[in-house]
């Protein structure tokens, strides 16, 4: 059983810790949450890159990289993602544990100081970020946006989410639009930074043998310098429409992508029954989709189901040959109907529960997986350890799975496929 502690340091600022001496490294993860809105998505996305680039003390990326490399190649990373109605900006640092340095150097005490330098003392010019920093990071963010289309699977999934959740916050691009990024000014980014300090929800997760109290106190001292009025920590479930939206996009691709979006009832089903239903449907190599759509019918190379417990939707995504799209779609719906009708074997349920128990067991042996596991529960009513989560899933009954499956309704179908000529050539 992992020791896990969580407390609210001050309004809207939470500190979680998993003390663990088994690892060669320690990790501090700072997640910052802001509402995901069209008007501010781009500025927040660029802001987190600027915060990870340099600070007053290390005034350019080269001096910062050099500092990190001198700390035994400590890894600093930033990311921008979305979780429910929120844009999640993350900054994390992981470094070699003091016990294993070659010459007895102590690295651990420096990590939170460096993170605070980056978040609270960026390199500024008056009330603006430095324009050369803004230009470099803007170029990189625009290139990241341009490169999204290269990963066909994730591109198709994000297009389906947009179609399924049109009008909802979760449909907003996590980086905003390329146009919005291009229009940002250094002054606007400064205001976004002030807003971040005053209103963001902060969730700090510490894993390894690090001094958690020192980390908490250091962070609290910094955040309390700003007048705080944190956002509400609440996610509104998706309101599904009554139609099935369809969209087909054509690109030069050899393999087509079919992504189907479904609404779910996450009020009258627990997140555990929804999760187990999703696993039985398409979450493991012994799931209905894998065994029937891929193995038995050889319709596609992959076919998997994932659910979003915060917003309440389910996605089934597959990579298929163009001529098999229709048949795959029918077979996926057929498998969901089987579940609705209770045609689920004990073996299918047990296999999904076992897979979940195994996965939860493995999380505890990975520093990164453990940090992510706890951090991801930020918006949940209760925080579970991996063991507790496995137990909660194990206690779900077949009736609950069937009930969860009966709340699944098709709402969106997104297809990415080649031009007609290419399709005929195949």
């Amino acid at each position: 059983m992992n020791k896990f502690n969580s407390r609210e340091l001050c309004p809207g600022v939470y500190l979680n810790s998993v003390p663990d001496g088994r690892f060669k490294t320690g990790k501090i993860l700072v997640d910052m949450y802001l509402p995901l809105i069209e008007d501010t998505a781009a500025e927040n996305a660029l802001l987190i890159q600027l915060l990870g680039r340099c600070c007053e003390r290390c005034p350019d990326y080269l001096s910062l990289n050099r500092e990190m490399n001198s700390l035994y190649g400590a890894l600093l990373s930033t990311s921008c993602s979305k979780i429910g109605d929120f844009q999640q900006l993350s900054l994390s640092i992981s470094a070699l544990d003091d016990r294993y340095t070659l010459f007895g150097e102590k690295l651990s005490g420096k990590l939170i100081g460096l993170l605070c330098d980056l978040i609270f003392r960026p390199r500024l010019e008056g009330e603006a970020f430095v324009s050369e920093d803004v230009e470099q990071e803007r170029r990189k963010l625009l290139e990241t946006i341009q490169a999204e289309i290269n990963e066909k699977r994730s591109y198709a999934i994000s297009q389906c989410v947009k179609l399924l959740c049109e009008g909802d916050k979760v449909a907003v691009d996590k980086y905003g639009s390329a146009e919005a990024v291009s229009a940002l000014t250094p002054e606007q980014l400064y205001k976004a930074w002030i807003n971040l300090k005053q209103r963001a929800l902060f969730n700090i997760t510490v894993v390894g043998e690090l001094d958690v109290d020192f980390i908490g106190e250091s962070f609290k001292a910094e955040i309390e310098k700003s007048p705080r009025q944190p956002y509400d920590k609440k996610i509104t479930p998706l309101v599904a429409v009554d139609e099935i939206k369809e969209k087909t996009e054509r690109q030069k691709v050899m393999q087509s992508k079919l992504v189907m979006g479904f609404s779910l009832d996450n009020k009258n089903n627990t997140r555990y029954s929804l999760k187990l239903m999703t696993l039985v449907l398409g979450g493991t190599p012994s799931s209905k989709l894998f065994l029937n759509v891929r193995e038995k019918k050889s319709l596609c190379y992959y076919c998997a189901a994932n659910n979003n417990s915060h917003k309440g939707y389910l996605l089934v995504d597959s990579g298929v040959e163009k001529q098999n799209i229709e048949q795959t779609r029918e077979e996926i719906l057929n498998q969901i109907n089987e579940m609705k009708n209770g045609n689920i074997t004990d073996f299918e349920i047990e296999a999904a529960k076992l897979a979940m128990a195994q996965t939860c067991g493995m999380i505890t042996d990975s520093i990164g997986a453990m940090a992510d596991f706890f951090a991801y529960q930020f918006f949940d009513d209760e925080i579970l350890t991996p063991e507790q989560r496995a137990e909660a899933i194990a206690s779900v009954t077949k009736d609950e799975i069937v009930k969860a499956a009966n709340s699944v309704e098709l709402k969106a179908v997104y297809i990415l496929t080649g031009d007609d000529e290419e399709g005929e050539q195949q």
């Binding site: 490399n69 289309i149 050899m254 190599p285 529960k353 897979a355």
Partner: protein
Amino acid sequence: MKAENEIIEIANERLNEKYYKIKHSSGLTVFVFPKQDYKSSYAIYGTNFGSIDNHFIVDGQEIRVPDGIAHYLEHKLFESKDGDAFTKYAKTGANANAYTSFEKTCYLFSCSSNLEDNLKILLGFVQNPYFTDETVAKEQGIIGQEIRMYDDSPDWRVMFNLLEGMYHNHPIKIDIAGTVETIAEITPKKLYQCYNAFYTPHNMALCVVGNAQPEEVLKLVDEFVKPVPEKKIERIYPDEPIDVVKDYVEQTFPVLIPMFQLGFKADGSVKLDEKRAAGCEVALFAFASNSSPMYKQLMDEGLINESFGYEQVEMNGVNAVLFSGESQNPKRVAEVIRKHVRSALKNGIDPEEFEIAKKAVYAQYALELNSVQAIGGGLIGCEFSGRELFKCIDAISALTLDEAQDMLAFLLNPDRCTLSVVKGDD
């Protein structure tokens, strides 16, 4: 009378780890790396047989096999007379997979309980091939889909275009999965030929890492892996000129930002021992890390973004370094990298950068020791390359600047490189 197993304990005091290397009586090399207080285990069972091994002499018979057969064999081995291995793993919940690379094929699982049952499944299916005309024909569809999926991946295309530009004859330039045409030539007989040649204990290794002890692993190996006479395999690789085929290759692809790989070709006949391998890693870090002068120039000119990276490639007949990333101007990137190569060869690696690089590379290895998967992958990689994991780590701290400098000169010759670009239509 049973032959004895030969057990050696290998320890690293600085990192407080030890593992066991066992020469099993069957000829199989077995590694058991217990991780104190870890709940999970990871097992990887590999054969030194990959996509480049398409021409060989065994038992005096010269055999040429279709491109992609090692990967095809990997897929088919999961099936046996009494059902496929995934169904068996479903009963234990293990997370199982397999992969084929240029030079090896590995079967693996992670679990947090039932290690013994999982090992029985793993050893059982890998030891018992079952190929029939019908099952072999069925796989053509799924592997064809996999090949198409890779055809849509610009990262994959940019790499194989590069390898075709660098290598005249070496089979590294052939796609690991083969092509739709070559896999059509695969028959049960050819699969058995490969299996009988390469899936013998002397050509394989088993690593078990995590919550495991040597006795329990050996008991199962005794049961499943029977001694067979060692087969002499002679792998035939065509003569490979030292120069590249061409210095530039380009493909148009639906990407918004061009992707590139710049490959430096080194003498493929040189085998790297622990010291030389450490020299390569440290030298490349000092030369190309994110605090190097080269990185600074590329970034300042707006030529690269966070996707920039490098990778050292090493296998029978191949030593190379690939730089890769996204850029609006790949030709300029290549020019800048080559300029810095010339300067580093002439002026030497900066001593301060060298010290930083040693610590950072050492910490990367220490970080890998957190993960049962990374340890398993590291042990099997070292075994097939003729190196020992802890000697590799110790070689880093013992490395001298001159040794690193020699390896930089060995790896990077500015007159033997190829630039591969994938870019949009415009």
